[in-house]
Amino acid sequence: MAPHDDSLIMTDVREGEVEKLAILFERHHLPLYNFFLRLTGNGAASEDLVQDVFVRILKYRSTYQAQSPFAVWMYQIARNAHIDFLRKRRDKDTVPLDDQWAEAAGHEPQPGEALETQRDRALIRKALDSLPENKREILFLSRFQNLKYRDIAKLQGCSEGAVKTIVHRALKDLGRAYAALQEGVTS
């Protein structure tokens, strides 16, 4: 769906036609859920975060500016929601990401899934856990959320060059961490 179309709909929501938020929810809740799921490794927390994002969209709808792509604005809100989530979690017990993955529902190996895929998945999750939060977030926005570097730069409040540098380093670190883990498994 064209981003322009999303912006038109969000403009209508801003002007009081709040029921149209349903269209944006139907279009975006799945990628948004997976964004949070990859960051938190926790299905229930990710559902809470998606709900939180849409509550915030309604709450702050008057601040939406039509010239800004809706997805950029939404992921800006998602980012803030995630920061608040991390803050709350920090106040409680800290659980390493790979442990959360282990606990999370819906991540059990699928029947018939190749052992190699299961192992790859476990390794990449463990490798992701070694990246700092900010790098992981930018990497996911780039890899899975179909956002351009200039859009990620906008929502991060930095230059496009800085985003590319972070993605570059994140990929390099992730690739190395994965290779090291793989070596540990096979040796």
Partner: protein, 273 residues
């Protein structure tokens, strides 16, 4: 081009955001530079392995929670508007109270339906360029959702929920076979007379459908409640369904038939022949 320049462009190379000239330059460079080649291989490994993380679906509760939240928000907006503009008049919520389901699950289902209808109305009332495809898609989604809501409510234990289901079915323009089947099931088998009567009303709306007309004739022979029998006779006479004449004759021939029903059946027969 030196290694630093190349490395700055590896991300674009990986994501395909560069041009063919730049790609050639990078390929040439990594062909002869072991350090940059290793860097690109490491990054490619990470980029590729990220692809094994599957896309997952959230539970159905997420959608329900969203629509409930949106409906509550919209309700508050409406109340605020009503408070300022129509002070002293009957509140919308009070008028809805009579037919609104009394338990949470159907409330949510009906909320989703109303919301979808609202979205459709909003879009249709404000057409713009480039929206026709989206409108057609949303129309189809709303039609489908309406029928699903109706089926879900008709299957519930509470008669008031089933009445809401019939009300939702009445909004369907082109019912699918499952919806019609559920309506006839309500008409023939529901334990509650009010539900069966409401099913007669709902089916009346689809009287142009040959399957419905045939089904109504068949149902007349199965009904035992005098109220439903009278409602069906009224309906069949109204739509001038001549195939009902035989069913009416059988009914009149039944010695145990209540006098008021017999009278109505004789009236119906006169209208049809």
């Amino acid at each position: 081009m030196n290694c630093r320049n190349i490395q700055e462009r590896l991300v674009d190379y990986l994501t395909g955001d560069d041009d063919p000239v730049a790609r050639n330059e990078i390929q040439e460079h990594v062909g002869s530079c072991a350090a940059c080649r290793e860097e690109l291989e490491t990054m490619t490994l990470a980029w590729t392995k990220l692809g094994v993380l599957p896309e997952q679906k959230p539970g159905p509760a997420l959608r329900t929670r969203f629509y409930t939240m949106l409906e509550t928000y919209k309700g508050r907006m409406d109340e605020e508007a009503a408070g300022t503009e129509r002070r002293g008049r009957v509140r919308l919520a009070d008028r809805f109270a009579a037919w609104w389901p009394k338990t949470p699950a159907p409330q949510m289902a009906l909320s989703a339906l109303l919301l979808a209808a609202g979205v459709m109305a909003g879009i249709l009332l404000k057409p713009g360029p480039g929206r026709s495809v989206a409108i057609a898609r949303l129309e189809a989604e709303v039609r489908d959702m309406r029928q699903q809501v109706s089926l879900s409510l008709l299957d519930r234990a509470s008669p008031s929920d089933r009445l809401s289901g019939l009300s939702a079915a009445s909004q369907v323009r082109d019912p699918n076979p499952r919806t019609l089947e559920a309506l006839f099931k309500a008409l023939d088998e529901d334990s509650n007379t009010n539900v069966r009567l409401a099913a007669v009303d709902a089916l009346y709306l689809f009287r142009d459908d040959a399957r419905v007309r045939e089904g109504l004739v068949g149902s007349l022979t199965r009904q035992t409640s005098p109220l439903v029998q009278v409602a069906l006779i009224n309906l069949l006479a109204d739509i001038k369904e001549t195939r009902a004449a035989e069913a009416l004759k059988s009914l009149i021939a039944d010695r145990e038939l209540r006098p008021e029903v017999r009278q109505k059946a004789e009236w119906g027969l006169r209208k049809l022949i």
